[in-house]
Amino acid sequence: MARFLIRRLAGLVLVLAGVSVITFALTQVVPIDPALAALGQNAREDQIQAFRHAYGLDRPPVQQYISYIGRLLHGNFGLSIRTRRPVADDLRDYMPATIELSLAAMGVSLLLGISLGIVAAVQHNGWVDGLARIFALVGGSLPIFFLGLLVLALFYTKLRWLPGPGRLDPYLTPPPRVTGMYTIDSLLARNGPTLRSSLLHLVLPALTLGYFSTAVLLRMTRSAMLEVLQQDYVRTARAKGLRGSVVLLRHALKNSMIPVLTTIGVTFGSLLSGAVLTETIFAWPGLGRYATASAVSLDFPAVMGVTLVSAVVYPVVNLLVDIGYHVLDPRIGVG
């Protein structure tokens, strides 16, 4: 296990090095001058030169890259051109919102996707199955940005059942920061109103973001369950007179969890992509919205920061998934 972890971590370092090279290469082809982007219409030539010098933009690319990596190793992501703060500070401020939203969306898709998938498999070819398949088809085909606009227009603007954009009621003070996730921090602070408000604000964006992965999970669960249900040991168990639900839970569900686990790992990566669009629509102050705003102003130190951080997530989740395989079925060797 230890060797496996070391190997995987070494791979992760390699991947991150590659990621930093690609993002850095992108900064070199940006058609504009970040100095002008930051200083605006009225900047004087000497100010522009000073900015270029301060950000090292007047040095050759290889030197710029080496000093960038050097600073990265000290946890220094550079200064954001747009917000004029250290990118590390921005990332620390915005990351918890994205994690909270992604976890909520993952929760939604686990709950809806797996349960609907089971029901659809058990009721194979019944009307529930039909509905579930349509639900999954739409989820896999509807553009997430339209879904976001739609649920906002419907549940906030028209029906007024749920709050609109943002993470918290404006009158409320966010709970003292521990994790940065408002729901968890509210629980820790035992603050009822902020817990309630932050949960309510999570509903629409989490449903929007989670719909796609719900659809994927539903399909995977359904087909994995169908396959398992047809296998001999399940038939045997049934023949031995075990109750339907026991068979379902003890045998079928567990054995269909392996492909589902793979799907979870894969869709978690897609959540981060989806977060870009979802956060933009719901004014959710997370990494996705930060990345979009930064890319719009061609603030590449910030874009590089987000990309590096999010590039850690996917390999780490995959590592966890691999460990999960091992736990689910020790016959599967790690690595």
């Binding site: 929760g107 009158y171 035992r190 603050n191 102003s297």
Partner: protein
């Protein structure tokens, strides 16, 4: 770990998710009783009644809030306790696109969103008197300008009653410190001091605790300097407080989360890209503001602004589009308040790039555009027809609009200039919405279709604003559609950039060099007699109308949605800040 254990854990996880979902779904039930009770409003009501609710609360959830907050570091504790004390009735909720907020330091802030905050927490020596070329006293009781031979001398007498939120008096020393600090930091707005006013640190002096003396070279205009003194750049910071928190950047970073001014409000907290919370300054030296707290929310989608004002999620929303204005027309709870801006939306035409190098071609383009459809149909009243370079609301505005769409005339002029049908011209436009609440792309498509009628083929290229400015500044734009707002409420804030090639601003970007018109602008800026000054500006704007490389499309109007229980709301573009929150009250 055994397998069944894992299964149990996974099911438990599902159960947790289910509970969370149930908690989310639960509150939808009570609100379904009537659309009038918005969920946010009810949540807010929960806060107002918090002190009462604590005693009745079945659990210890709410009571614990204050306890935890009190132990969680000073700022948060203050925020949390004051949060409980201020009710929505005493709070103003303001929503708008504030995504340009970068800094809340007066020496750094140069964006609408930042200035709007700084203007509430700091004060300047003088204050603009909207609609009037003269200034009103603020921190300075009186001031005068003297010609002292080789230089102008401007002397300010400070009001001895003025004091900072810290309780200290505002002294001449603080003024000298604040202005020198702005020059040293040399951030975006600093050029107003250093370039426009030609102000140098050694020429700012504290004569005594109540008197500041500033000397300016004869090439600078003391009138323009005084109007810059009403801008947030010239706001006075509390020297002791800022120096105590100076860090490595003269306190700039610290001032993003704290205020050190003498204004009616103090900064409570700034949640980046989400909201800014201001609390009333308890020791304010002037009339105490009516509302104890102001919350400024960053909401970027106009449709969400409309929902917010309809539901009462906001007391005031900024910059509604034409459709939202229409939708709010018969709303019993909210009204639309329109206000002029001093912005101009215009097209710059590069005077060196064929076929735009011919003045007749530029004139033909001005005659080809259907201004009425832009102002009436596209903007739906969110803009005014203005065709000269000095906007309505600034001194020197003449109100002349000689251009009206005349396709035949325009075609004729084009033929006479020898321009072939189908000649291509590239039009650069920024991304996003233009002032007035319409997308730049829609405006550009309209211009494209109008110019097609006279045989010009316009290729629209939409790029990010910073990239557009980069091209524009390098004189590389052929046609560029963009907006301009004066940096200070004086016609010179528009005339010099639009006419002086040497100033390397708009005229330069369009490669338009007309030395005699530029000279006229300089003379007008230095003219101390208002009647003579007005005459000079009239002469100048008329020439630019026909000779200049500009099509001025419109002067945007800002549409605000205001709840009917809100009183005292005014917007004045020439004022800093444009909205004075301290004058607003709620019934």
């Amino acid at each position: 770990m055994s397998r069944s254990n894992l299964l149990v854990r996974m099911l438990a996880m599902l159960a947790v998710v289910a509970v969370v979902l149930a908690a989310c779904g639960g509150p939808t039930a009570p609100t379904s009783t009537g659309a009038t009770t918005a969920p946010v409003a009810s949540a807010a009501a929960g806060v107002t009644t918090a002190p009462a609710a604590v005693t009745e609360a079945p659990t210890t959830m709410t009571t614990a809030t204050a306890v935890v907050a009190a132990t969680a570091g000073t700022t948060t504790a203050e925020a949390a306790t004051s949060g409980a004390a201020v009710s929505p009735q005493q709070t103003l909720l303001f929503s708008g696109d504030l995504s340009d907020q970068i800094s809340l330091d007066p020496a750094v802030a140069y964006e609408f969103g930042g200035i709007q905050v700084v203007g509430q927490t700091y004060e300047t020596l003088v204050s603009p008197d909207p609609g009037n070329p003269t200034l009103k006293p603020l921190l300075a009781k009186k001031w005068d300008t003297k010609d002292s031979g080789d230089m102008w001398t401007v002397t300010f007498n400070l009001d001895e009653k003025a004091k900072f939120a810290s309780g200290r008096s505002v002294t001449a020393d603080d003024v000298v410190y604040s202005w020198s600090r702005a020059l040293d930091l040399n951030k975006s707005p600093a050029f107003l001091f250093s370039d426009i006013s030609k102000l140098k640190k050694e020429n700012i002096k504290a004569v005594d605790p109540q008197t500041v003396e500033v000397r300016l070279p004869k090439t600078a205009s003391p009138t323009v300097f005084l109007s810059i003194c009403s801008f947030t750049l010239a706001a006075v910071v509390d020297k002791q407080v800022v120096q105590a928190n100076a860090g490595s950047d003269m306190g700039s970073t610290w001032l993003n989360d704290h205020s050190a001014g003498s204004g009616p409000y103090v900064l409570d907290r700034w949640e980046r890209s989400t909201q800014v919370t201001l609390n009333a300054n308890p020791t304010y030296w002037g009339t105490a503001p009516a509302l104890k707290r102001v919350i400024m929310r960053n909401v970027t989608e106009v449709s969400n602004l409309q929902s917010a004002i309809e539901t009462g999620d906001a007391d005031i929303v900024q910059d509604l589009g034409a459709e939202q204005v229409k939708a709010l027309a018969n709303n019993p709870d909210a009204q639309v308040v329109k206000a002029d801006s001093t912005l101009l939306v215009y097209i710059g035409m590069n005077a060196k790039s064929p076929p735009l190098d011919k003045p007749e071609v530029r004139e033909a383009i001005r005659y080809a555009i259907n201004y009425d459809e832009i102002v009436n149909n596209l903007l739906g009243g969110n803009g005014k027809l203005v065709q000269e370079i000095i906007p309505n609301g600034l001194f020197g505005h003449t109100g002349e609009n000689p251009f009206k769409q005349d396709v035949a005339k325009a075609k004729d002029m084009l033929t006479k200039a020898g321009v072939a049908a189908g000649t291509q011209i590239e039009l650069l436009i920024p991304a996003g919405p233009a002032p007035g609440g319409i997308d730049w792309s829609i405006l550009a498509a309209k211009v494209q279709s109008d110019l097609q009628q006279i045989g010009l083929k316009i290729n629209i290229k939409q790029i990010q604003q910073s990239e557009l400015l980069n091209t524009y500044r390098a004189q590389k734009g052929q046609m560029v559609m963009i907006n301009w707002g004066p940096d200070f409420p004086d016609p010179d804030g528009n005339v010099t950039p639009f006419t002086s090639y040497a100033a390397k601003s708009i005229a330069w970007r369009n490669a338009w060099d007309a030395p005699d018109i530029a000279k006229l602008g300089q003379d007008a800026a230095l003219e101390q007699d208002n009647t003579k000054r007005a005459a000079l500006y009239k002469q100048l704007t008329e020439r630019v109308l026909h000779e200049g490389p500009y099509v001025i499309l419109y002067q945007p109007t800002r549409a605000f949605g205001v709840r009917k229980n809100v009183q005292g709301f005014t917007y004045d573009p020439a004022d800093t800040p444009s909205i004075s929150f301290w004058r607003i009250s709620k019934q």
